[in-house]
Amino acid sequence: MARPPRPLSSPSRFLSLLFLLSLLIIYLSTASVLADSHFEGFDADEDDEAVDSVDSLHFSSLRSPPVTQSESPPATAKPTLSEDESAASDPTLPRTSEHLATPPDLSKSSSEGFDYWDEDEFEGVPIVEKQQQQPSEPFKATEDVTGPQDSAGHVSAPTKRSYTIEIVCGSFLIIFVINYFTGKRENENIALAWAAKFATKDSILEKNFSLLGVGEGDDSPLLLKEGQNVFKFYASGRRYCQGLLATMELKSRHDLISRIYNMIVPCKDEISFEVYMNDDAMDNVIFAMAKKKAAKGMQKELMDLQRFAGLLPPPGGRKWVAEEFSVIAESKEVAGDMITEAVLDQVFGEKAIEKFGKGFMSMHFSDQHPGTHSKMLLFKFTLPGVNNMADMTRLVALIPYYIDHVGRYKLSPQARSKTEAARTKAAQEAFKELQNARHEALQKRKAERKKLMEEAEAKLSAEALRKKEAKERARQMKKAMPKMKMTRGH
């Protein structure tokens, strides 16, 4: 019984597509074949490809049962080699000819009473396909054999679609998600370990500040999480300063791509402290100290260091910081006053640096700091590991020491005069800049208003223009008039 060929009308095509889609989903979940319904949609080229791929799916999964089981129940499909025609037997036939051959197959199959679509469709082909597929057993394994076939765009056997991309990307996404949670927890543990060591009861920061934490009242949370790798800690209530803000910037452990990047370009966990000094507590001090390369960068980039201070060579004849650091200051005197004996012995001297100063990155005191607050002390350290938080104790102890030191420090008269001169000059320049900016803004606004007026004028008709011009002239006359009157009065 010949099946009447179906006209390729678009609604039916769309319907068949939808149908096919839902069927494919069912196939995937149950891995069973619904013979009849599947073939209804077998119409156009696009269905063909899908059908082929689905069939290839099923062929592989059904590969193990021997081929001779031709008398299978309708629910399962088995390829039969013995039967039928070789109309489509040539495996190298392009797909279209296969497609063309199948309606006759269909007719034949229905005539023979076989409703099983796949037996007849892939009649001659299963020989080749079987040999191909049997060695490569589980379908899930990425088939590089069929990869080139697929990429060639021309498939001799029913395509085994290579799912390399899907599998690789899917597994990457799964690993990403897992890494997100583990990395997040790691970062949180580091932050909490730091807070436990330095911000809880009887810790150094607790002994120095009356208000700890980022919330209100007594029970406020200590840390503020601003992203999976940025944590903030705030403390306030101490003499000489308004408050202290510590920002921990940890490695992006939660982000797999960043983690891979950090394996190539090394990165460290950092903590930076900003101390907001009171206006009356800090004298004109501009001072910075960092490792040699970093110091050079700082001197070039930071405005206040660039303008007021310069790199100082280590003075002879007195104890100084270890070789690896360099000092930036306005004058040797200020530098010497900032680097005290106690600090040298405890942290920065030659002997102490090995044990205690390893985590030190930079410190920067400035009373001309650009930004919202002018008088600030900035410290930057690297964070040790979760279990080694105690290594940082002396570094953290530097902070209250320096708050007191800078708070009490008074410049000598000569030094003060020098610094005052530099600062007044800078203040004047800043003021001029501000004035210029305001002037420019005003000019811009006037020009814009003029433009608007001109545009409006252009839109008006000639008569209205004339009227306007008359008005303008009258206004100008009026403006000029009072002057004349005044002079006459005199």
Binding site: L24, E46, R161, C169, L173, S210, H254, S258, P400
Partner: protein, 100 residues
């Protein structure tokens, strides 16, 4: 480093005020931008790998999101592009796929 007296001054304590960051000062969201680029490329050129990479980068951008309110719009835009690219690639009229 011993203090002569308690350095704390409870009267001087000021509560924490998070510093306001202007939207234009925010660091550039590179991964979101790359996600959008890949997503558009995947849709236009029907390149599956591009759509998958767009999804990966939009997930990275989502993971790096710092401020829920500000960044969510941009990131969801990137994600929409990526997902649209994938859907077009897989469920489009030319290449229906058995998987996904």
């Amino acid at each position: 480093m011993s203090q002569s007296s308690d350095p704390r001054q409870p009267s001087a304590a000021r509560p924490f005020k998070p510093p306001a960051v202007l939207p234009q000062d925010l660091p550039v969201d590179y991964s979101g931008f790359i996600a959008v680029v890949f997503g558009v490329a995947g849709v236009m050129f029907r390149y599956k790998l591009s759509s998958w990479l767009a999804i990966i980068f939009s997930v990275q951008s989502f993971a790096n999101m710092k401020n829920m309110e500000n960044d969510l719009k941009q990131i969801s835009m990137g994600m929409m592009f990526a997902i649209m690219g994938l859907v077009t690639n897989y469920f489009g009229p030319n290449r229906p796929a058995p998987q996904k």
